[in-house]
Structure formats: C-alpha cells, structure tokens
C-alpha cells in the first residue's frame, strides 16, 4: 500500500490566535482573493482561501449559449491568457465536429497563443516585483506587454479579450503588419529579458527573498493537481504542449523546462526561461506561416454529436481543460472548465505553512494566481 495521504496535521490553531484577513481588497492578492491567515507573530500557521467573490457561474452561462457563442465568455476566466482559453474551447468543438483546422489557422493560433503567454508572463514578472516591494519592474514589464497588446489589437481588434477564434479556425486573416512587428518584438524582448535579470533576478535581496521558501515537493505537486510552471518547478513533466500537442506545437522544437527544488525561486526562474522558449517558438513559426484558408467550413448552427469531449491546452498558468458534455443539441449540455489556477491555489495552504507573512505574498506571486479563473 502506497502512502499517498499528504494531509499533514495543521499547526494547532487556537482561539487567541492572531487571525488576519488578507483580501478581498488587498494590494497583493491581484483581484479578490480572500485569505484567512492564522499568525504566530510573523509566522504563518495556517492559510485558508475563501473564494467566490468573482464567481459568475460561467459554466452555467455556457449551457445556454451556442457553440459559437460560448467561446467569448471564456476570455473572462483567465483574462491574461484569453486567447489560449478561446483556443481550448474551439478545440473541444472541433474535436466534436471532427473538422480539420487549416494549417494556416493552426500556425497563427499558435503564434498568438505564445504571444499571449509572453504578455502574461511579462505582467507576472512586473507583479512579482511589485509584491516584493520593487515598483519599477512593473513599468518595464508593461512596456513589453503594451507592445504585444498593440500587435494583438492590430490583428484581432482587441487588446485583452481578443475572441479571435471561431470553431474551425480564425475570425480573420492576420494583419499585414503582424509579421514584421512580431519579429521586432522578438528582438526587443530578448534584450529586455536581460534587463529583467539585471534588475530583479540578479538582485541579492530578491534572491534571498525567494530562495529556500515555499517548497512544493514533487509528490505534493502531483497530488495537489498543480500544473504549468508551478508543477514544472517541482520537477513534474506536465507541459500539455509537449505531451499532448495541439494546433502547431507538434512542428516546433522547444524545451520543457523542469526544476528540481520547487521553491519560489525555481518557480520564478522557470517562467523567465519559458519566456525565452516562447520567443523561440514564435521565431520558428513566424517565417513559416503556410498559405491557405483560415477557417474550415462549418455549419452556421453547430450541433455536436452526443458524448463527452475533453480538450486541453497549456495556458500561461498550466493545464486548462474543457469538458463538453453534449446531448446532441445546439448548446452544450454541461461545460466544465478545469482551470489551472484552482488547483494551483489549493496548494497554497500546503506551501505557505510555517513561512513568514512577507513570503506568503511572494508565494502568491509565484503561483501567478488569476482570481477570475479560480472562481469562474
């Protein structure tokens, strides 16, 4: 019998404990996360997340939307990887329909997804600095992020919630400026990652703050169902792009970066390295966008056959799964979004036990939580 139970006894909490509520309005919870924290002086005894402040029941909403419409609502879940969310939804519908997406659409989707990942990681980097008390990184990160948003705006028409994907392909072709601007971005971003390292990664205060705190062991990472950079920092090979390639990921070469220790520092470094990998993925694809259609022919009213369809993508935060249960009608019978943040957040209580309150903030930053994705 293997011992799987990671339920360690919580540190004993008493009535007289110093309990503080971090959030729902707090500068470092990035939204409306509410953490109830039991403290012993500065040391965290127990963390209990209270969720639901931005619960909109997107899953229920999707039950009344058609297969074309439900895609847009998922942009509002993980708004920092809106494009990737849309991609997951479209993949589920395409799987049900059995349509083959044209090559051109696949490649463009992949490039846009990687741009989204870059933008998301850039924002995360800025916020990471902000949470640790350095304000300046935030502005440097936004410089790059704005550039990516401008590229998105030109092609998709929107900066954040693009909704550029339709079942079977894309809404429109790319803008003529897309390719040159993306190339410019690659050049600029590479140089700026060095700046990131100079300002924050190399800084001794930053290293002291993140190293050797917030350990998440490999077993715990698996058991808590974490995914994305959080799990990879603990050495769990879980990149969906690698293991279950979708769209054009099977035609690019990239490394899945794995950590060993699983502390806050490792989670930080992995995201920085992932930015470089994303740049290399874009670089491989940007010159090889095949000619052809951008959308496969589908009926105006899409009806999926009866059954369950599960699609998954790697968002900037981990594995997003979309479970579509269809009863043969024109709207989904039940939609379940397996959001990466929900599982990652569940590990926070485990990670934060026994750390200092300042490190709790750093850990939340390295988990890269987006609360609308947790609550849905």
């Amino acid at each position: 019998m293997i011992e799987h139970n990671l339920l360690e006894p919580d540190m004993i909490t008493e009535d007289g404990d110093f309990v503080i509520n971090i959030g729902p309005q707090h500068p470092s919870t990035h939204g409306v996360l509410h953490l109830k924290v039991w403290l012993d002086g500065e040391t965290v005894k127990k963390v209990e997340p209270h969720l639901g402040y931005i619960h909109r029941s997107i899953e229920k909403m999707c039950e009344s939307l058609s297969y074309r419409q439900y895609i847009f609502s998922t942009s509002r879940m993980d708004y920092l990887s809106a494009h990737i969310n849309n991609q997951a939804c479209a993949l589920a519908v395409e799987m049900g329909l059995g349509v083959e997406v044209p090559d051109r659409a696949k490649v463009i989707r992949t490039i846009l997804a990687e741009l989204t990942r870059l933008a998301s990681h850039a924002l995360w980097w800025g916020c990471m600095g902000l949470d640790l008390g350095a304000v300046t990184p935030f502005f440097y990160a936004f410089r790059e992020r704005e550039f990516i948003n401008d590229i998105m705006e030109e092609t998709c028409g929107a900066r954040l919630t693009q909704n550029f994907i339709v079942p079977g392909g894309l809404m429109a072709d790319i803008h003529p400026n897309f390719v040159p601007k993306t190339k410019e971005l690659i050049k600029m971003f590479r140089a700026n990652i060095d700046e990131y390292n100079q300002l924050l990664t190399g800084n001794v205060i930053f290293q002291q703050r993140t190293q050797n705190v917030g350990f998440l062991s490999k077993e715990a990472a698996i058991s808590y169902g974490t995914s994305g950079p959080v799990a990879r920092a603990s050495g769990v090979s879980c990149d969906v792009r690698k293991h279950y390639p979708y769209d054009a990921y099977d035609r690019v070469q990239f490394k899945e970066i794995l950590g060993t220790t699983g502390d806050s520092w490792e989670r930080y470094v992995i995201r920085i390295d992932e930015m470089r990998e994303s740049l290399s993925i874009i670089e491989q694809l940007i010159d090889n966008i095949p000619e052809g259609d951008i959308v496969a022919k589908t009926k105006q009213v899409i009806k999926l056959p009866k059954g369950e369809f599960y699609s998954r993508v790697e968002t900037a935060r981990g594995e997003l799964g979309v479970l579509l249960v269809s009863d043969g009608g024109s709207t989904p019978y039940r939609v379940k979004f397996r959001s990466p943040n929900f599982s990652n957040l569940s590990a926070l209580g485990h990670i934060a036990k026994g750390s200092k309150i300042g490190d709790l903030v750093a850990m939340m930053a390295t988990l890269d939580l987006v609360i609308p994705d947790v609550d849905r």
Binding site: M1, I2, H4, N5, L6, L7, L51, G52, H55, S57, E59, K60, M95, A220, I222, S223, Y224, G225, T226, S227, V236, S237, C238, H243, G307, E308, F309, Y310, R312, E319, G321, L323, V325, Y333, R334, K336, R338, F342, S343, L345, S346, A347, H350, D375
Partner: protein, 151 residues
C-alpha cells in the same frame, strides 16, 4: 498501457465495471457505491499508478448524477475516465477521494457547492464559491433563480 490492456486489467479485479464504446478516453462506468474501491486500486496498483487527477466534476442527467474522475498517470502516461453513477437525485452522495488526491479537496467542495453532492468523510465540506445559506444548487438542471433574466 494502451486502452485495451487497461480495460483487461481493470476487469480482472473489478468485473462490475462497464466500459463505454469509443470515446476519447477509456471510460469506466461504475456505481457510486463502488467508486472508492476502484479509484483506490487505480491509484495504488503500480501497473496503473494514476497519480494525477486532472479533472473532477459532476453532470446532472436529470434522472441521475454522474461523477467524472479524469485520471492520468505521469509515470506510464496513460489516461482514463471513471464515471460514477449516483442514482439518488434527491440526496446525492459519494465517497470522497480527497485523501487519495489532495486536489480533490477543492474540486469536491466545488461539486458540493454547485451540485449538492455530499462527499462522505471529506475533511472540510463547505461551500466554496457561494454563501453557506444560498438556496439551491446552481448547476443542477432544475435550478431556478428568481433573479435570472432570460435574454
């Protein structure tokens, strides 16, 4: 293990499992009363070693509820789905698996919150998104919200 081997292995120790034809994953149907024994075996037998639960949810089929357990083995890289049928629609309940996979803790709380499925022996079964005294369970098909506006 490929899909056929998985089915054979599971049937060898748990003959009551019924497999769906086709589908994306290996779909094992089982009654909710037996699901904990099946899942424990799937986790513990080294041949299966389903150590990663990537999705846990519930579907309201009006006549019954079905719990969906999406499992993956990170060592063997195989996946399967266990569907547990809960026949009792008035007081649905199933055993918790949160002691096997810690991620199930939050996911079961979510299902309890939105579907009203009770989980026996769950360490901390409270509503996760909604208020404790919210009337009804929103993701059930018969849920009616008086404030909802039909567009």
């Amino acid at each position: 293990m490929n899909a056929e081997e998985l089915k054979q292995e599971i049937l060898a120790f748990h003959p009551s499992v019924v497999f769906d034809e086709g589908g994306q994953f290996v779909n094992a149907n089982i009654d909710a009363a037996d699901v904990l024994t099946l899942l424990t075996e799937l986790r513990n037998r080294p041949a299966f070693d389903f150590d990663y639960m990537f999705c846990l949810t519930c579907v309201d089929y009006k006549t019954h509820f079905t719990m969906f357990y999406h499992l993956r083995s990170l060592t063997h890289r195989h996946e399967m789905v266990v569907k547990a049928k809960i026949a009792d629609v008035n007081a649905p309940a199933v055993d918790t698996v949160s002691h096997i996979w810690r991620t199930a803790d939050f996911m079961e709380r979510e299902v309890y919150d939105l579907f009203g499925v009770k989980f026996f022996r769950h360490p901390d079964l409270r509503r996760i998104f909604l208020d404790e005294n919210w009337p009804g369970y929103p993701l059930r098909k018969n849920y009616e919200d008086p404030n909802m506006i039909e567009l």
